[in-house]
């Protein structure tokens, strides 16, 4: 009954929970965890992520704050809620059956290899808030199609009056990138955005997002060609965008 109430609360406060998200199962401290999620503006768009830690199930959701994502690590005896921030740190709240009211709290840096000069979440926020829309295109010289087929993204963006920002993948070979970027109208400034990373920017290259008008699109991925780029962009614009 308590678990049912939890999910009822969750659905009430996250009216746009997508049909394709999952629902984490909590065995204790549901009201306290729910309150924490609500306080941190969880969108409730939970997706399970594979775990490198034994016997713990992990779920992750974006929040309504750019750069802030929420992760649940559900074990048999404890639940850890991690809330990241755009500044590159996270707060951790560990709940156990006996410590629902007073979870253990800690703070840590979000380890990363991002460049300090890369486009970070602060800049991403500015792009999202702009009235005009921008195509963010992430490339890697090790993914040849992200070079050779950028022209199709470029042409489609121009047709749709999108500004374009190209960003280099964080782990890309910089020397290689410098050598080939100019040939394909790409720039070698890196992406250093936690928001884009958590949205799957680094699952594959190229990856792309459309931002602006206080919205961010789902990730679009893959090399596109002249006979399908329009259709894939149509799909992207028809898909649900997260509003800030």
């Amino acid at each position: 009954m308590t678990i049912q109430l939890f999910f009822l609360f969750l659905s009430l406060f996250s009216p746009r929970v997508e049909a394709d998200t999952v629902k984490p199962q909590l065995n204790f401290c549901e009201p306290q965890i729910f309150a924490l999620l609500q306080k941190n503006h969880s969108r409730g768009q939970w997706r399970q992520i594979p775990s490198a830690t034994e016997n713990v199930l992990f779920y992750r959701s974006p929040s309504k704050n750019i750069g802030s994502w929420i992760e649940l690590g559900i074990g048999s005896k404890s639940v850890e809620v991690k809330i990241t921030s755009a500044t590159g740190s996270y707060d951790s709240y560990t709940f156990t059956n006996k410590k629902c009211q007073k979870p253990a709290i800690s703070h840590a840096k979000l380890k990363n290899t991002f460049s300090v000069t890369g486009l970070n979440d602060s800049e991403l926020k500015q792009l999202i808030q702009r009235p005009e829309r921008t195509l963010i295109y992430i490339w890697n010289p090790a993914a040849d199609l992200s070079l050779t087929h950028f022209k199709f993204y470029q042409a489609e963006a121009k047709k749709r009056n999108l500004k374009i920002i190209t960003l280099l993948a964080p782990l890309a070979n910089k020397d290689w990138a410098q050598k080939v970027a100019h040939k394909y109208n790409l720039i070698t400034r890196e992406h250093s955005s936690f928001e884009l990373y958590f949205r799957g920017a680094d699952d594959h290259y190229p990856s792309a997002f459309v931002v602006g008008e206080n919205k961010i699109s789902p990730r679009l991925m893959g090399g596109l060609e002249s006979d399908n780029v329009n259709r894939f962009f149509n799909n992207l614009f028809e898909a649900k965008h997260d509003v800030y």
């Binding site: 998200t21 890697n140 782990l171 699952d203 594959h204």
Partner: protein, 354 residues
């Protein structure tokens, strides 16, 4: 006396367990190719194929390299293959190289002989950027069907290939009633829209990543009439890889994703499998592994293979048994030395002259 003998036999039978494969093995791997976005591993883990740039003097964007892992030190061989050339899933006898309007197939043996003049074996006219191929068995020895599928609409071709002593001696396109797989699940007579595609080792299942992010993979079971059923697999990952057939189990899906927060520096990833019988994720890499290879490989013996970085400039090839990596999970205790690919695949493996 008889009682003692029987008891001894029972005890021996009870206590004797098949030997497990090693839980984890590491080998050298050339660091110059470690972070290749495109990499594939052979079924025995003796070769890898990767798109990379070794030395920055050339004007080209890069080249496809074969990495020979058979000896103590890996050897890198440059090839004539195009970007994102890929092995035919199954036994790796053939490598496909995508070019305008189709795919040209080369025999691995020919590629190993020469990097400049390499005889091609045959060609498929399936176009598109992202391809995958796999071999299907027929009822004849030394004959297979090479199935090639392209992204987006799942355009495909089946080509019947005959071998003699491991060499391609003839090929013939199979006439099919449709040129699109799974058209019953798509629109306007073409297959469903997926961006990245991967076939199972037997060519009868296909997994695809939707172009617009959904958090799920689409898995299609291909029937004999080329229609399909589909299900959603709850993975958001880079290009997934089917395992080779496992005795008594469905094949699993291996993939590379980001790790849980705090496990390792963003954006290094981790490797996991999705066990379709247990409907569970099982880790195949350790929390401290900085995984750099975009797609893990799967070996014929069921293990997973991937590349990890030391965070600086060295790389290691890692082979793990995901079942031993997750001892608390019910089901398979370990991958056994005797539990290699099922008899169908093994008996019809095309022998080459490597």
């Amino acid at each position: 006396m008889m009682f003692i003998k029987v008891l001894t036999l029972v005890l021996i039978t009870t206590l004797a367990k098949a030997e497990c494969l090693p839980a984890r093995v590491e080998k050298e791997f050339p660091s110059e190719l470690a972070s290749a976005a495109f990499m594939r591993f052979s079924p025995e883990g003796d070769f890898a194929i990767a798109w990379g740039q070794i030395g920055l003097n050339s004007e080209s964007n890069g080249a496809t390299y074969l990495v020979d892992l058979r000896g103590k030190k890996p050897k890198i061989l440059r090839t004539v293959l195009a970007a994102e050339a890929y092995p035919v899933e199954g036994d790796w006898h053939l490598i496909g190289s995508v070019s305008a309007g189709g795919t040209t197939y080369y025999e691995l043996d020919e590629l190993l002989k020469s990097k400049i003049f390499t005889r091609s074996a045959f060609r498929s006219n399936v176009g598109g950027l992202y391809h995958v191929s796999a071999t299907l068995n027929t009822d004849k020895q030394n004959e297979k069907i090479v199935r090639t599928v392209s992204y987006d609409k799942l355009e495909f071709s089946d080509i019947k290939v005959k071998f003699d002593n491991g060499k391609v001696i003839s090929h013939q396109k199979v006439t099919t009633p449709t040129k699109y797989l799974c058209a019953n699940l798509g629109k306007n007579g073409v297959g469903p829209e997926v961006m990245q595609v991967m076939l199972s080792k037997d060519g009868k299942e296909l997994v695809g990543i939707p172009g617009t992010f959904t958090g799920y993979l689409k898995l299609f079971k291909i029937k004999d009439d080329y229609t399909c059923t589909s299900e959603d697999i709850p993975i958001s990952s880079q290009k997934p890889m089917f395992s080779h057939p496992l005795p008594g189990k469905q094949n699993y899906i291996a993939f590379h994703t980001g790790a849980e927060i705090g496990a390792q520096p963003i954006p290094f990833g981790q490797v996991s499998i999705y066990d379709r019988d247990l409907k569970k994720y099982l880790r195949a890499s350790l929390p401290e592994d900085k995984v750099v290879s975009f797609s893990p490989g799967t070996l014929r013996d069921g293990r997973v293979i991937f590349i990890r970085s030391d965070g600086k400039d060295k790389a290691k090839l890692v082979i793990t048994d995901p079942y031993q990596m997750n001892p608390g999970v019910e089901g398979l205790r370990c991958l056994e030395k005797k539990s290699s690919a099922n008899s169908n695949s093994e008996s019809q493996e095309i022998k080459g002259n490597r």
